[in-house]
Amino acid sequence: MTLLIEENPPRTEEKAKTTHGKVRLREHLMGWLFVGPFGLVFLAFLIAPLAYALYLSLFQKKLIGGTSFVFLDNYAKAFTDPSFLSGAWFVIRFALFAIPLQILLALGMALILDAVTSVFIRFSRLMIFLPYAIPTVIGAVMWGFLYSKSFGPLTDIFALFGGTAPDFFSKNLIFYGLLNVVTWQWAGYYMIILYAALQGIDPTLYEAARMDGAGRWQIALRIKIPLIAPALVLILVFSLIGTLQFFNEPQILRYLAAGTIGPDFTPNMYAYSQAFKLANFNYGSAISFALGGIVFACVYAFLFFTRKRRSFL
């Protein structure tokens, strides 16, 4: 630290130039000293694994003949592999339902919490956010209990009305069962982000809008939502990335939903089972990389179509 203490720069015109050069050099050095430690971690745990996965995905290991370079064969295999394609189709379909549902719910709740003040409202805000503090695995375990035929409440509740309880572990309903779990898990978190953005809006804007005769709905639609558009884009991107990588919840519920959730239910589960159950690291890496490519393409396309709305990037 003592090394870095700046000497008082001489005030003469002539020396100012050299001091400026020295300051510039030091600014480069200090910048890299601050960014460097993260840079090393970034290289070691992001760039290196990505490069390595790409490398691995270009090889195939055979019982006879050992490992050989096959270039893009693994990708050709993945994009014609019904297991990968059905998993990818599932997560894309799931994202198309889950993301709008979560964000509309979060937006609605955030607007209510922003517009109304009462003790109950403050309590609600905390309670709605609560599931975010729950690990997704535990959340899935908890909903697994509630869906369960042997000790869940659904059987009793539906018996009350003389119906039979839906089986959320069946092939037809697992989509909705999982949709409910992720909505419960994430809507509160998105709500808090949107709520924080709403609270940051200058209230004099509402006053001005009211003077112009705008009602509560118009203020919400014309002022509040456009002003928090960057926050909406941010959570859309994060939910898109998260949903396409779907793994934890189906992995946990697959024990309870035996026969419905197979090892190839989502691309990530398929990559995991290829790599760790079948020790097929090359194909597992190719699936991971192909999924990463799909995620990247989806996010890029999304940001491209929303670029007019001053996104967060």
Binding site: E27, V35, F42, L46, S124, G200, N248, Y255, A271, L313
Partner: protein
């Protein structure tokens, strides 16, 4: 002027009752799983499977007995899992936060060579799905003999590109260059300026990033599931997942395990809930950063 303020005064006491009722239903929805777990962790296995009301207590409320069974089952492995989770969350969270704060400040306040390029790489990295890294990291670590150690879980958790992005935005807006220059003119070194002048100004964002990275480590499932095979190193997420697999696989023999899993799920969520509620004032200010500017 007076009419406007009177109108505003009349509007304020409105409680929007329908909206509050609607919100009440939503709160019930968000709390139902917690309620189920709280109620059913008081039951023993016969009570659990007796077919009574699953949303209410039985006559036999036995939290203490269940807690004792939970923490003594299999040589007290559950307590170990909680400690492991705590270690991973603290080490990963603290490490990731220190790196993110430094890098965010560096990106915001120094015009160094390669800054624009490395920052755009960082923004691209926000879109890299974290789970895509697990398989190659596993193979790299197994070459170094690091799999099945605590480092296999802690080291990859140090990476938090979003934390760097958040800190960058916050440092750029909340730390004025003039204050830094003034500190330098007063003879403070760069590190001293950072620690004494910039850091206190960045504190709300620091708490937010710390909490977000600690939660991410605590919640992590895919990484430890892939890296660890010794169940004494498991975090509680992987441990409970394994128990659930055992309990579901042999439905008759596993019934005693179900009551442990239910209480185990409840106990495992208590530390984070406490952390969130006690730190509430600090992280709320930081959350708006990512979205607003």
């Amino acid at each position: 002027m007076t009419t406007v303020s009177r109108a505003g005064g009349r509007r304020r006491p409105q409680r929007h009752l329908p909206l509050q009722v609607l919100l009440g239903f939503l709160v019930v929805y968000f709390l139902v799983p917690f309620w189920w777990v709280i109620v059913n962790s008081s039951k023993d296995s016969p009570g659990l499977f007796s077919g009574g009301n699953t949303l209410w207590f039985t006559d036999n409320v036995d939290y203490l007995g269940n807690l004792e069974r939970l923490f003594t089952y299999d040589g007290g492995i559950y307590g170990r899992w909680i400690l492991n989770s705590t270690l991973y969350a603290l080490a990963g969270g603290l490490g990731a936060t220190i790196l993110a704060v430094m890098a965010g400040y560096g990106f915001a306040k120094y015009r160094f060579a390669g800054r624009r390029f490395s920052f755009s790489i960082l923004l691209g990295a926000l879109m890299v799905p974290g789970t895509a890294l697990v398989i190659p990291t596993f193979i790299m670590f197994s070459g170094l003999g690091l799999t099945n150690t605590i480092w296999a879980v802690i080291l990859p958790s140090l990476l938090n590109p979003f934390g760097v992005y958040l800190m960058h935005v916050y440092a750029r807006d909340a730390v004025p260059d003039e204050i830094l220059d003034a500190a330098r003119v007063d003879g403070a070194g760069e590190l001293r300026t950072f620690l004494r002048v910039a850091f206190p100004l960045m504190r709300p964002a620091v708490v937010t990033v710390l909490l977000l990275s600690a939660v991410a480590s605590w919640n992590n499932y895919f990484l430890p599931l892939a890296m660890l095979s010794d169940n004494r190193l498991f975090p509680v997420t992987v441990g409970l997942g394994v128990w659930q697999g055992i309990a579901s696989a042999n439905n008759s023999g596993g019934t005693s395990l179900w009551s442990l899993i239910i209480l185990g799920a409840l106990v495992s969520v208590v530390p984070l809930i406490i952390a969130f509620f006690t730190l509430q004032r600090h992280w709320r200010g930081g959350l708006s950063v990512g979205g607003l500017r």
